[in-house]
């Protein structure tokens, strides 16, 4: 695939967002990364509302749970109920490892749930593992002409 993967990071912690971005670049992933810092912005971006009208939808979303304005679970619920957005894979990236949060994420149709490591090296490694599977092994909807147009 020659076009870069478009990745949306929904993360209010700037340091974590920067780490994800650095880890993806370090993994030599050809990707276009967009970061938004709250759930409302994420939905505006995905729906191409207001200032995002000319943007492309992402191929994959990395979603924190604890976000200002609209939390990650609500973003997920709205995405997976929207025919235009439901096929975009959403990977929850959260510091919560509570079983109830993990289960709720999957019940709302998160595609996967990854725990954020507090240790920077572990955090970096976890983004590399995520990248190897999702951008290397799995086939994403964007890897179709129809999916690229729809998503």
């Amino acid at each position: 695939m020659s076009a870069p993967f478009r990745i949306l990071i929904v993360e209010d912690n700037q340091a974590d967002a920067d780490l994800v971005r650095e880890a993806l670049i370090d993994a030599h992933v050809t990707c276009a990364i967009t970061t938004v810092s709250d759930g409302a912005q994420a939905l505006e971006y995905l729906r191409k509302d207001s200032t995002h009208a000319g943007t492309d939808r992402p191929d994959i979303v990395l979603l924190d749970i604890n976000l200002p304005r609209v939390d990650g679970f609500e973003v997920l619920r709205e995405m997976k109920a929207d025919p235009r957005l439901k096929c975009i894979p959403v990977l929850i990236l959260s510091s919560s490892t509570a079983g109830a949060d993990v289960r709720r994420g999957y019940e709302l149709h998160a595609n996967s749930y990854i725990a954020k490591h507090a240790d920077v090296n572990e955090f970096f490694a976890s983004i590399h593992r995520l990248e190897r599977f999702w951008l290397g092994t799995a086939v994403l909807p964007c890897q179709t002409t129809e999916g690229a147009g729809a998503a």
């Binding site: 999957y106 149709h109 996967s112 995520l130 999702w134 799995a138 086939v139 129809e146």
Partner: protein
């Protein structure tokens, strides 16, 4: 779930092709994660197995489902929809494995809330590498929903030997 008490991972493989079942059995032999593999050789057997889990007649629900789309009796898409439309088991991650990535099929399964889609490589080495990648991500890295649903019968299970999973052939496939 504490790390020390982590139970074996229960995987349901829904696959009718005996050759592919053999390959999966060989691939999961190399898994480092303790696991128990159930095999259903058609979609109806898979749904019967899941219903029995929910009724407490079998193990707890599987932690992960590996689903071939083109299986007899009940199609893989129907199995996927049945899992993802049932509040009691919609949380169970379903990985769709199929031999062809037809565009419409790929979009359809993501819209049905498959957790991910993987094409089966025809080359054996690549097939094993794909399963290694799958294990590294889904069994050793990603958080899976905590076990629940149905009744756990761990005490009745033989503990797996280190690095070796248990096999439970649900269908008529002889291995």
């Amino acid at each position: 779930m504490s790390e020390g008490a982590k139970p074996e991972t229960i995987i349901l493989l829904v696959e009718d092709n005996a050759g592919d079942v053999d390959l999966v059995l060989e691939a999961v032999e190399h898994f480092e994660t303790p696991h128990k593999l159930h095999i259903a050789s058609d979609g109806s057997q898979a749904l019967e197995y899941l219903a029995a889990c929910l009724d407490g007649e079998k193990d707890r629900l599987p932690d992960l489902v590996l689903l071939d789309l083109n299986v007899p009796k009940t199609d893989g898409r129907e199995v996927l929809a049945a899992i993802k439309n049932d509040d009691r088991m919609k949380h169970v991650p379903v990985i769709v494995l199929t031999s062809s990535a037809a565009e419409r099929e790929l979009l359809q399964v993501y819209r049905l809330h498959a957790n991910c889609f993987i094409t089966k490589p025809t080359d054996i080495d690549t097939f094993f590498a794909m399963f290694q990648s799958l294990e590294r991500f889904w069994l050793r890295f990603a958080r899976l929903p905590p076990p629940c649903g149905g009744h756990a019968h761990h005490a009745e299970h033989r503990p797996p030997r280190p690095g070796v999973g248990q096999r439970d052939i649900e269908g008529g496939i002889q291995v």
